[in-house]
Structures are given as structure tokens and as C-alpha cells.
């Protein structure tokens, strides 16, 4: 510490509030983005449970389907779906910030990095929907 500091008046650094993220919307949005990973994990658990039920046989799969149809799980899944979409969108929007910004010595526009991700997401969703609705 520099010597001159000993003659300076005492400074004061206020502590951050524990709920600082409620102060402004951008901070709350950031925390929601971080929290959305919990719901992504929930969907991963659902898929694992589904696979386990599939392997265990028809009766296990039926009881899994009954569990998924309970109101509490339905509400949880609707909330989780919203958060997973929020997670995916914010993640894709961040892609241009962490990718190489130049192709053939020319700077790439942000859309060029983000758009393919949205495109692949849409295409995958359509294919899954076609299978789920037994169209193909």
C-alpha cells in the first residue's frame, strides 16, 4: 500500500444487497438466464426417466405417462418449457460474442453466427413434431 494512504481519510465501501438482482431488469434477466439451466437439467432428467420406463416394459411406461399427466408435472413442464426456450434464445444470441469474428479477413455480422443456430433449432423441432404427431 502506498505510504501516502495512511494520511487519507477512511473510505467506505457499502456491501451489495443480497437481492441486488431485483434492483434492475437487466440483472434479473441475467439471473433468470442462469436459473434456466435448472429447468434444462429437469428436462434431461425427464428424458432419462422416460428411457428407464421404456426399458422396464409397457406397464412402467404407462405409469410414467400417468405421472407426466398429473397437473403438478404439467404445470412444471409448462414453466420449464418457457425457461428452456429463454435459455436457448439467450444462448444463441450470445453465440456471436464467443465465435471468431472474421471470415476471409472480413468481419462477420452477428446475425450470420446466430441465425444458423435458430435455423437448426427450428428444423429439429419440425422434424420432432412430425414424428410426435405421427405424420411421418
Amino acid at each position: 500500500m502506498p505510504q501516502y494512504r495512511q494520511f487519507q481519510p477512511e473510505t467506505y465501501r457499502p456491501e451489495m444487497r443480497a437481492y441486488w438482482y431485483f434492483d434492475r431488469w437487466p440483472y434479473l434477466k441475467f439471473m433468470l438466464r442462469e436459473a434456466s439451466s435448472v429447468f434444462v437439467a429437469w428436462f434431461a432428467v425427464v428424458i432419462l426417466l422416460q428411457l428407464k420406463a421404456l426399458i422396464s416394459g409397457p406397464s412402467a411406461f404407462e405409469s410414467f405417462q400417468r405421472f407426466m399427466a398429473t397437473p403438478a408435472v404439467l404445470v412444471l413442464n409448462v414453466v420449464a418449457f418457457v425457461f428452456v426456450c429463454f435459455h436457448a434464445i439467450t444462448w444463441f444470441v450470445l453465440v456471436p460474442r464467443v465465435m471468431a469474428r472474421q471470415v476471409l479477413q472480413r468481419p462477420t455480422p452477428d446475425l450470420m453466427s446466430a441465425a444458423p443456430n435458430f435455423g437448426i433449432w427450428l428444423l429439429t423441432s419440425v422434424i420432432v413434431a412430425l414424428f410426435a404427431l405421427r405424420i411421418i
Binding site: 481519510p9 473510505t11 467506505y12 465501501r13 440483472y27 464467443v98
Partner: protein
Amino acid sequence: MADTIILEVARFSPERGLAITFQTFEVPLRSDWMVLDALNYIKDNIDGSLTFRWSCRMGICGSCGMMVNGVPKLTCESLISQFAPGPVRIEPLEHFPIVKDLVIDMDVFLEKLQKVRPWIVRKDERLPAREFLQTPAQLDTFHQYSLCINCMLCYAACPVFGLDPQFVGPAALALAERYNLDSRDQGASERTDALSQHDGIWDCTVVGECSTVCPKGVDPSLAIQQYKLTATKEWFKTWLLPWGNK
């Protein structure tokens, strides 16, 4: 538009105890006044003991950064009329130690800045016979980062810096990247220790507010994410080619 507006100004004096109090002032509301003009009105006409930093009044010196209604702003660039009918809450920049009223201790920032060696580093320190040449394309790679005026608004907007004061922080990291990307610089490896560590780039959680509040359009968040990519590539290189020049 009303003739006056209320300002709630944070007051702090270590002699009066380690706590911030708010004092209310009524100042004229003029369409051409910045928040800084209102503060100067208070100092000149109401309370001469109110303490704050300012200098150029045109968004260049970076001295007059304060929290205006909870958002870090250069007070010389913020029209007071946009906050009408008020009241307007003026506080010192968040996350910094306060010296008096609206004045913060900027040594915290200056120490971080020095750590990242924000100047052109050359391996051969002898003066060259002629100037270094640079193409416009080479200039473009770092130009926006060179616009930083060290106003520290990005630090006040960064919750990571608030929670972990050891974090090197947005401006210092953006300026480090500014020199790393400069074609004349050869000091990238000397900056690695300060940048690629937990208190450096890896502490950043991409809140992104540093870039939003920057009055000069610098994007420190981008600089940090780009350096994360560079640091990862460098790490892979040392792992795959351990005999290479580190």
C-alpha cells in the same frame, strides 16, 4: 414542464460515520441542463460542501460518472429534463470505496489497469528508425476498445466486480484486448497471467451491462468473450504442442 426538480443526493463524510445519508435539494429544471449542471448549481448556490468530481463537461475526461436513479451515467451527458418530474437520486458509482459524498476512490481501478499492461509492449525496446505502419483493417480490429475514457461506469454496472472486488473488470480487460489486437504490440504473452485467471476473464459471467452503460460505445463484454476464445486456443496449443514457444 415544472420550474424545479428535486435531487436526492448521497452524502458521506467519514467524520460523520460510515453510512450514506440522502439530502434533498430543489434546483431549477432547465431543458438545456445536464445533471452535472444541477449539481454545480447546488454547490454554487445552496451547499458549497457538496463534493463531486468533474472536469471537461463534454464526455471526454470520464470524471463525472455517478449513479443516476440507480444507473451509472456520465452526469455531463445526462439531461436533467429526462428525469422530470423527479425526484432524481444521485449516488456515487457503485462497488467503489467512497471518499466523500459522490467522490469514489479510483485507486482500485488504476491498480487493475496497471496490472494488464495497457501500453504497446515491444520485445526490442530500442526506438525504431521510423514509425510503425498499420493498415485501416488492422486499426479496425481494436479501434472501438481504444475509445475507452476510463470513466469506470462499466465497473459500477458489473455485479461480478461488486461481489468479487478482485475481478480485473471490464475496462481493464477491454484495454488489454485493445493492445493484444494491436498489430504493433508484442506483449500478449506478458498479459496472459493477468488476464487468463479466475480473477481475470474467467470471472465474467456475461451479464453484459458493462457494454450497455458505456458512454463511448465500447463493448468490454465482447472483448472479454473474445479473449476467452483466444485463451482457450492458447491453452490447447500448449497442451498439444508443449514444445512450442509458449
